[in-house]
Symmetry: C2
Subunit: 239 residues, 2 copies
């Protein structure tokens, strides 16, 4: 099996959001897909490790806000890489409330869907929520962000619990061969013998520490610049 | 509900293919999505009206070939708009066979997935095939075709039985307002009072006849230039 072909499947980027008592929580997903047109039914795959997963299981309703190319990257970093168990992800972003008391993000998003879970499909690591679209709206006239744009232009990665997560040694067949070989990464498929090195890597989001101060000398309250998680989540590994 | 927001969900384009006795059949879908990474599991939504649907129900295995921007449009028109009940869709295209005797299309496609159905989800008009990826391969180093590219650049439409089918009066919020108003289409959301006209429209693929010869005078064996279906499938309607 050549897993690099999974990099050629096309996805968008979405903020899923639901209620959490008197507050709200949400996460980033790239697998929102329409399953039928009449009535409009969508599917979405969410990791069982994700706090939003447990809340959707309980509430049975959620919104999906459609991220555009102009949605601030901070929205993706906060909703995608930080845990709603620890912070209120909505705190620093613009959002609106539906009459059903569900929030949707309005940071240059293309629009929103309000959904009700009809059926769940249990898979080993994820649950697929098969959901009826109750209502929907258009917001900004923006170009929807594709996962390819996020990966190639913004240089973002999928976190470990994304349905589409691939380790960094899986090359991207849509890029020229020399780009896959660039940098210090090992290209497993091409078999190029690149020099490896040790680096501190964030186990939450994959950020590679490359600062001037030696990692060990960073203050204890230093946080990952990508996902905001603490220094204790970094692991020294060969890259 | 503002259905035009569905135009901002992002999809790729794929040829699904399976066995049909000693032959093969296939169709175009835009809803192939990865559900879990380890093990690799995908979902795909297929219309119950589709011949390939019935064959996958029987065979429980299929391939998905990932269409690129350089895949000939004839592949999409043949696999997307013609019926495998009437023609051998593979006849005019390049394809290869897997050891399991399943075909995949090699016309500038990015790669292929070989899948085995684990579970089906029955929806009113479609079945969602939750399927294990048994094997996969990379073919050409091409840019995957997004549905947006197909819709905006190639000017293609989703057939009536696609999960993402929208009637032509649903505007596209990713286009400038004047593009949505252009031509003779009525823009239901903007409420622009455009002049309507009567035209012959293919009920299979939505092609609008705009030739110099009056439609009634076309020979009886004339075929729709988009989907190849006969003259009898055209309906005179207001557009």
């Amino acid at each position: 099996m050549d897993k690099s072909v999974f990099r050629t499947l096309t996805y968008g980027m979405y903020v899923l959001a639901t209620r959490n008592g008197d507050n709200y929580s949400g996460c980033i997903v790239n697998t929102v897909f329409q399953l039928t047109s009449e009535p409009p039914i969508i599917g979405v795959s969410v990791s069982k490790d994700n706090y939003t997963h447990d809340l959707i299981m309980k509430e049975k309703t959620f919104t999906a806000s459609i991220i555009s190319e102009n949605t601030p990257v901070a929205v993706i970093n906060t909703f995608g890489f930080r845990s709603g168990r620890k912070i209120n992800k909505f705190e620093n972003f613009q959002y609106k409330m539906l009459p059903s008391n569900l929030p949707y993000v309005t940071e240059k998003t293309c629009g929103w869907l309000e959904c009700e879970v009809m059926e769940t499909v249990e898979l080993p690591t994820h649950t697929v929520f098969i959901s009826k679209v109750l209502d929907s709206g258009v917001l900004d006239r923006e170009t929807p962000m594709t996962y390819a744009y996020y990966h190639h232009v913004i240089k973002g990665n999928a976190p470990k619990n994304a349905p589409t997560h691939l380790t960094e040694d899986v090359p991207d067949p849509t890029k020229p061969a020399d780009e896959n070989d660039a940098g210090d990464k090992t290209n497993a498929t091409a078999g190029a013998a690149k020099e490896k090195r040790m680096a501190y890597v964030c186990s939450v989001c994959g950020h590679i520490y490359d600062g001037d101060i030696p990692f060990e000398q960073l203050p204890e309250d230093w946080m990952c610049p990508t996902c905001g998680e603490g220094k204790e989540n970094f692991i020294l590994k060969e890259i």
